[in-house]
Symmetry: C2
Subunit: 446 residues, 2 copies
């Protein structure tokens, strides 16, 4: 959720007058909470596959947007949604085949222990209902998250989303621990450190009279700067929260649905079975659908006693959208493509890194990659200025990415899963050019 | 949110074996939180206008569903969504004309004081963000709601939704007051009683060290049994919460978008200007879109400091859906139709009431109507059994409604706004028949 705000290169040129008018109207109507990417915002009017076009007809390679995961405006998804919209769009209090078939199909992608799935409309709602179920089941309130976690925007999940900053105050029931850090903690220590930190947080929480209900993480730690390695490091912490009577919630809103290539879900890379799995963003390729899968035992009491009903959640159109996305992932072998094309990009980035001391680390899984910009290889000090320059140089050059992490220095590369090798090569060439330009324009990295 | 669970008449017949299988699969996949309307659930497969069809081809007049407000599968809405889906579906961090134009158009339906609108995906999210903004602006925590209010399902709004029952415990920051009661409180006393009850709740809250941030009501009190009259009764309570330093939030998720006929928004019937207005359900005719409008001053600090971003909220497809709904309401003059056809139905129900002592009250605004079933006119004791019988008799007869209210005895009539006079007459005939059948089958009302 860390944002690029003001990194435009001098070459960006003046704002189109019509865009200026639209930006003013936008600020008036939507108010100050709405931000735009880039100092000179992008006015995008069309999308197809991995491509976006702005109003002037300029074409951008989208290496950032994970919502349109099977490609912008994928015709099969468009057709599935449009078709169902014309036939029926009610809700889950009438019997309908599709929501059941979709639920079964989703559950088939998961370990058998996760026996039920409930549908919501956004990742925030999925995490919020997961929390409600977790607290109701454990009869406890405490939650442990990582230091720069993002789990959504409702009051209950905003208070456990420290990446939102101090204005969304951390709740009294929440404790923070360090995320793993590939660059600054030796790989062999990540698992033990995470579990030790979790143990300490639980002890501190208990000292305050709060019992731990859940440990929840984005299994690829996106807002913490992308921390995929070494796969498996999550296991001891998950074992610990269970030993302490809490449950483990895998937030798959970002890594889920085949993005990591080697697995359909991020948690599978860690060789574990969560108690609950929340999912969202790419689930309907832009249609608002999300959900939470869980061990049936967790929701038994809640399900029988709480009067739960989500008006739009799991309606026939949402089910059609979700099913079409699963169809496309399968029929176009997008998990294999994420693995193959992701590996090609990672290799290319590693190759660029051999020529650029500003690159402190290259990491990722599948088509979710990160490049850490640092001032030097000795101190690995985050270089947000350089990351911003790269993001904006790429944009001027027709390639969209972003920057994230505690130091806003980590390039976040997260293209639609349909990205193929020729576009991946275009992307690598643009990155090489951007780093070369940065060395000319900024103080060279040491 | 009160549900009909088990009121089937004996004539309902056996469950279709395929439906039985589907219900079992559904329970396995979705778990115990998912309920179905009716003991013998409806398996709906198609919708058009005010009509729904079940799997066997049986046709139902839909006098219940307010989400498909401009009619099931309205071709203009379907086309608007489908068209935009094929062109672009990104998010609000790129500039896009449609979300701005839609925001302006929505705000034009409201008093000038409401200057900004923010977009979310569900009514729950709209109420949740409204609360976050209200609490951030007032720097207070307390909220007052009515005794059987429903404002949504996130943790923060579930704790102020007492209609969810004891399993969603009322938060420590929440106080409940009686809703107005057309049948049991003299009309001339409603306004004063509501304000007096609010004043008492504020005093009690303060005695517990909690300051009132907001008073929030569904302006037609749907889950409290539908309380529209006498229009204007809200004003003194709204004046009071402001005098006490809190704000007034109008939850327009149910009454909004022309349903009440005499006004586009429910609060307009009460001659007041809310500080915030939340909206949802009919906003996209089934597409998940919702929002909150507010006085700009309320969101200034929050907007500048909180990092707020709703991934799907206000995306180009949501804007297209919302705009199409406004177009249809305007071009098909649905507010005038709600007023005219609603008045025709109300008159017809009053006429039936002259022949049926089981009807204690008929009330409503536009196409949101209620019939209160009572054991007798002296005690006005709620008769849930009769209401259930009527709901199920109507269903067998091809008409869909529901029952609600503290006593589950209030028939809830809330058809799509495209309902015309011939269907309204069909509806009235079916209601007359159902009440006659009830007198034959149940102990007659006194």
């Amino acid at each position: 959720m860390t944002m690029i705000n003001a990194y435009d290169t001098a070459s960006a040129g003046a704002l189109d007058p019509d865009d200026k008018t639209l930006i003013d109207r936008r600020a008036r109507a939507l108010g100050p909470a709405y931000r735009l990417f880039y100092e000179k915002p992008l006015h995008i009017v069309r999308g197809e596959g991995v491509w976006l076009w702005d109003k002037s007809g300029k074409k951008y390679l989208d290496a950032y947007n994970n919502v349109a995961s099977v490609g912008h405006c994928h015709p099969r998804v468009v057709q599935a949604i449009s078709g169902q919209l014309g036939v029926l769009n009610t809700h889950t209090r009438y019997l309908h085949e599709d929501v059941v078939a979709y639920a079964e199909r989703l559950l088939a992608t998961m370990p058998d222990a996760l026996g039920h799935v409930m549908f919501t409309c956004t990742g925030s709602e999925a995490n919020d209902i997961a929390l409600r179920v977790a607290r109701s089941y454990t009869k406890r309130q405490g939650v442990i998250v990582t230091r720069l976690a993002y789990h959504g925007l409702t009051e209950a999940v905003a208070e456990m989303s420290p990446s939102l900053g101090a204005f969304a105050p951390r709740g009294a029931r929440i404790r923070l621990i360090d995320a793993p850090d590939t660059l600054r903690v030796p790989p062999q220590d990540q698992a033990a450190k995470l579990a030790a930190d979790l143990g300490k947080a639980i002890a501190e929480m208990r000292a305050d009279g709060i019992e731990p209900a859940a440990f929840i993480v984005d299994t690829i730690f996106s807002s913490d700067g992308l921390q995929p390695d070494p796969a498996g490091f999550l296991k001891p912490a998950v074992d610990l929260i269970r030993a302490e009577g809490g449950i483990f919630i895998a937030d798959e809103v970002q890594p889920g649905f085949a993005r990591t290539g080697d697995a359909f879900w991020g948690f599978q890379r860690h060789g574990l079975v969560p108690d609950m799995v929340t999912m969202g963003k790419p689930m309907g390729n832009g249609f608002p659908v999300s959900g939470v899968a869980m061990r049936p035992e967790l929701v038994k009491d809640f399900g029988e006693k709480a009067r739960y009903f989500n008006t739009f959640g799991g309606n026939p159109v949402a089910a059609a959208a979700g099913m079409a996305v699963l169809d496309v992932i399968e029929d176009e072998a997008l998990q294999a493509n994420a693995s193959r094309t992701g590996a090609f990009i990672k290799e290319g980035l590693h190759d660029i890194a051999t020529r650029r001391s500003a690159i402190g680390d290259v990491r990722g899984a599948g088509l979710f990659l990160a490049v850490e910009c640092v001032t030097d290889h000795e101190t690995n000090t985050p270089d947000a200025g350089r990351a911003g320059f790269i993001v904006n140089h790429l944009r001027e050059n027709g390639v969209l990415i972003s920057a994230t992490g505690p130091g806003a220095n980590i390039l976040k590369i997260r293209p639609p899963l349909v990205l193929q090798r020729p576009e991946a090569q275009l992307f690598l060439d643009a990155v090489e050019t951007a780093f070369a330009a940065a060395d000319l324009r900024l103080a060279p990295s040491r």
